[in-house]
Symmetry: C2
Subunit: 342 residues, 2 copies
Amino acid sequence: MPQLRKDPIIGRWVIIATERAKRPDDFKKIAEPPPPEGKECPFCEGKEHLTPPEIFSFRSPKSAANTPGWQLRVVSSIAPVLHIEGDLDRHGQGVYDVMNGIGAHEIVIESPKHIANMSDLSVEDISRTISCYIQRINDLGQDPRFKYVLIFKNYGWVAGGGHVRHTRSQLIATPVTPKRVKEKLVGAHKYFEYHERCVFCDLIKQELNDKQRIIAEIDGFIAMTPFASRFPFEVVIYPKKHACDFTTLEMPLRNDLANIMKIVLTKLKVCLNDPPYNYLVHTAPFRRPKPGYWRTIDQDFHWHIEITPRLTRVAGFEWGTGFYICPVQPEEAAKFLRETNV
Amino acid sequence: MPQLRKDPIIGRWVIIATERAKRPDDFKKIAEPPPPEGKECPFCEGKEHLTPPEIFSFRSPKSAANTPGWQLRVVSSIAPVLHIEGDLDRHGQGVYDVMNGIGAHEIVIESPKHIANMSDLSVEDISRTISCYIQRINDLGQDPRFKYVLIFKNYGWVAGGGHVRHTRSQLIATPVTPKRVKEKLVGAHKYFEYHERCVFCDLIKQELNDKQRIIAEIDGFIAMTPFASRFPFEVVIYPKKHACDFTTLEMPLRNDLANIMKIVLTKLKVCLNDPPYNYLVHTAPFRRPKPGYWRTIDQDFHWHIEITPRLTRVAGFEWGTGFYICPVQPEEAAKFLRETNV
């Protein structure tokens, strides 16, 4: 069973993933290129027997689970970082806090075809993926042990994407609200207390006026480079209309979101030569009765998607300070991406 | 002039390093191996003309600055991320906060010989480097614009070390207390308020009792793997005696610290096949009259050194949550390192 351990000074939780346990010899060759892809992709149609059984799928009504005939499948990770079964069993060990590594870790296979980059999927495929995210978050939200579900994607070897180049994303349900989400919730709440307005809405309004950091704008969404970008060509996608909860996104807007995601991912691919990237969805944590602290969360938080091409290395200074050094002006990055026709 | 920009939601400062500005084409080849080293190492004795003029050195009294005859030199970075001259000029831009990128960025060349890894320096060389760190922090502390000096090292290409393999460390003086340092100060302060004891002292006592995570113990210091390690084979070095300020370290203890650093770095080299690594010193920020908030800092903070071999890739989940997944049990990592004879 993996273990969750809390840093006693800054309160950061760490997953000690016992089942991925490795010996020193396993780390001796870190800088090596990825292994070759192999003949059989476990994520392609017809290879359903190579993955754990499907948890969810969009498939033709005539087809049976774990057989061909699907457009999208969700399966458990073969190397889950958290386990679905068991109790949290929170306890102390002297100055330290520990709990069992309970959670869910699922893989969303976005297409039956062996396509590497999500940018090469159709808008319909991406929209279907978004609907699946929403479905899975809502389903996992029924489990009172979980506080949060993070949706994310690792594309390319440098971005942690594995060596099989078949488009997929991941979700991990966690028993605590992640530190980085909490920081955003706290920051947005402070701004709301002072201004009685959503900081994200204010920021979107200012950016739409200013225009220099806008990459694309469509009906329901904008894509822009953040004013304080940590990484070159970092992108954030905001819904224009205030909403704290990604799962409330209605059907026509899911298509808009798929549309702007395809635009942004294609621009990154063209402009930066198919770079490795990560993206993640930051939505509000599950709001159950008596949310207490987060009582204004509906008004002060605003869900969004962060997309970060992995073009630079993070070194000692960044680890030591939490500062980031961005070697590209966000305004210039936005201009390049905006002016790249796709 | 580089610019410091603050993320309006979570309050993280980012350095927009205009002088390192790059175009999209510069990022197209990220996964490439480092360029070859070249014939002339600018950090070797006799090549002093290839660096900016020295700010500080330990050298034979007969030798002139910027000529051979030194044991250690400090020079400005040729690509400083912050500039030493100018005013902060803090101001707002709508919802955003900005200031000029004022600071210092120096390179500590730890040896006149072309040695790559600090582990191959003598204890005396490392001790001299520690004395230099202390001297530079004290000197930069005279400048009221600076709140903090971070000492760090990037060793190896993957860790941001550059392609020239000559042992050196860096320091950056910043006009704001870095977020990660602040988080530790706040966490340690909370613990002190509740327990009236230093969390680090409690932790050290528990670890010395427990022994499973200890890598090495000498007179003044212990080296251990953190209970909530983020990375495999992460190491932290603590002075056993409480002290918040690294610069108060007295001469005999500097030798002890050099000794344990050499032990740990050599164990990492032997055990993990000369891995890339970062280290950093976390000391208290400059305490000037009226420190206000940090009035108990002398009692509640405890300086330390973090050493992190760069063996795994950080991916979407880590970025999105602030959680880390560590694939090695800290107790096993400590055992391997403890039992590696050097």
